[in-house]
Subunit: 413 residues, 2 copies
Amino acid sequence: MDELGRRARGAARQLAMSEEDRRNAALHAAAAELRSRREEIIGANEIDMRAARERGLSAAMLDRLMLDESRVEGMASGLEAIAGLPDPLGRVMAEWERPNGLQIQRVAVPLGVIGIIYESRPNVTADAAGLCVKSGNAVILRGGSESFHSSRAIHACLVSGLEKAGLPADSVQMVPTTDRAAVGYLLSSMSQWVDVVVPRGGKNLIRRVQEEARVPVIGHLEGICHVYLHAAADADMAARIAVNAKMRRTGICGAAETLLVDRAGAARLLPGVLTALSEAGCEIRGDGDVVAIFPEAREATQEDWSTEYLDAIISVRVVDDIDAAIRHIGDYGSGHTECIVTDDDDAAAKFFRNVDSAILLQNASTQFADGGEFGMGAEIGIATGRIHARGPVGAEQLTSYKYVVHGSGQTRP
Amino acid sequence: MDELGRRARGAARQLAMSEEDRRNAALHAAAAELRSRREEIIGANEIDMRAARERGLSAAMLDRLMLDESRVEGMASGLEAIAGLPDPLGRVMAEWERPNGLQIQRVAVPLGVIGIIYESRPNVTADAAGLCVKSGNAVILRGGSESFHSSRAIHACLVSGLEKAGLPADSVQMVPTTDRAAVGYLLSSMSQWVDVVVPRGGKNLIRRVQEEARVPVIGHLEGICHVYLHAAADADMAARIAVNAKMRRTGICGAAETLLVDRAGAARLLPGVLTALSEAGCEIRGDGDVVAIFPEAREATQEDWSTEYLDAIISVRVVDDIDAAIRHIGDYGSGHTECIVTDDDDAAAKFFRNVDSAILLQNASTQFADGGEFGMGAEIGIATGRIHARGPVGAEQLTSYKYVVHGSGQTRP
């Protein structure tokens, strides 16, 4: 593992000095490799799928693991999309001149070496490596054991792309074992070689990473996202947004888990919104006020307010006013993404000011919490920590900076 | 300690929503308190000084601990200078519109709760707390036991300032004990309450913090700063910069520790530069090439290249060319601050591109590595990590951000 780290550090030095064209060429070449080795990749995936079926993995897990032609094509075109993004390196983020004539610039540089720890989705191999190469970072990939053969086949394409572009093959390395101890070592004993770890996966994985890591971690534990229907919400829009935020895909971190509604608007808004959710196949768990208005709802327990269902279930609560909604989100939210539905822009401004989450939306679905939807091309994950990056983490967020100062002989008095 | 944390979190929520005027008023009121309680503060400092003398602290330590009228005035005017800085909160750092009409803004918010662990300099109490209040962060201060009474007297002024401005007194709290176990608890068991820890002090303190912290740490372990005299350096400027970078103050992290000189310029540059350093009272430790040119120099050992002297000693090495200089800095530097002296801007550009340190200067002293000198008003420290902040950490660097998104009913397809 230390040898892996040492090689990553060496590759990172070279990547940091590489031209934009070369990094983009590596991504294009890797995309071409993915396409031409399609059969080989799907064959490797079949080995993983067979083992996963034998181990009795759930249908959802099998779906995440599965690769077919369109998913391989998706990875290839994803790499090309990343290649098309502006260069995140060398950007002059700020510049100013001091009274003594010193000219100071803050210039974007790569983070260095990034460790990615993920579960069964093999496409993370291509997406994460693509963003790292784009941003001049070396990466050490550690995928789930279920996807080992698939990830190895994808990894080979990335290495081939790097070599064709004349960049070090060690820029993208894969931990060559499925031994769980390797993850522990990566998290706890490689701070010399690894600058930041990005975990991608379920709560157990993230918690383990947060507990064991001796290097900075960028990511999020869970997404308990709220849709708050303000008294001045449009009823049709409220229903459309609630259904989309909850039901478009229930298993993603930006899916809504709790619906809050102002007491003053509850009788007007809830019947339509909850009927629409119910018709879309969602189970409703409400507090007493909600059950009184919508008797089909099951009674919610205290636990519901802090549960990330990742399923077709929503908890619903009537709140006295916007202050109570903000308090509820502060008490039970996870700092990920919250939406206010309202035609009252002052209420939205108050919500934006006083809710402390990474992403706040007025009149738009929480499922927009995504780097692609934000126009960042792709994301390596969504961060809810307060240090370094918050919200979608794209190529730009995988950079640090340095100050470069031009003088003419200044000494400090 | 957990109660301290809980109160800090509560205060942080209120500070985050506070108006700029109120935060600045608190800083001005605290400055006035420092001035009016000058005698009391100096009296408290006398208790610390007496105990320190009895414990036989070094003259340098005693000097750091000592407060007199001008130092109290320095703290007061420092707080006023911080109040005069632009508000780091609410800044729209970026904004764009998506094809679907979503309007996305990235807006600066406070980090939350900051823990400051420092040694004997009592003025850190005022400086650090001032920057935290300015940037809307609550702070938990843990100063060295030597400065306990001084820090407590200064802390009382800050609390009084907060109260006069109507901000929560818990915005600035001091760990009320000199028990070392409290530091361990703060570092390892308060991640729920503390968002980031900033250590200020010697290498032993920083190393302990880095090893024990379960929260992100912003700071630097050491400053092994280099001055590199390129073949195209002006000889007079080289001498002026080398003397200032090394000797202006030898005990600060931005002081130069190693001088590198191109082989092609060594005979022309070294005699003048080393004579100037020597006349300023600096001990010279050189490699064989240096001793051949400047026989007064003592022979350097391998250890010298990675030593932060913080004293009137400099190690000097002849390198073959700019690539060798860049390699030397990569091998022995600490990523803090490096200077190239050259009239060749292409060489400077290469140095800037390929040296990976927080601050790089052309033709200016490394002692400019300072938030005040950078025009940031003040600094809480200098960071050499790659995550979040690098270089001087001022009020702006003590912020995170959130995304606020205005929509008109958009749902995600």
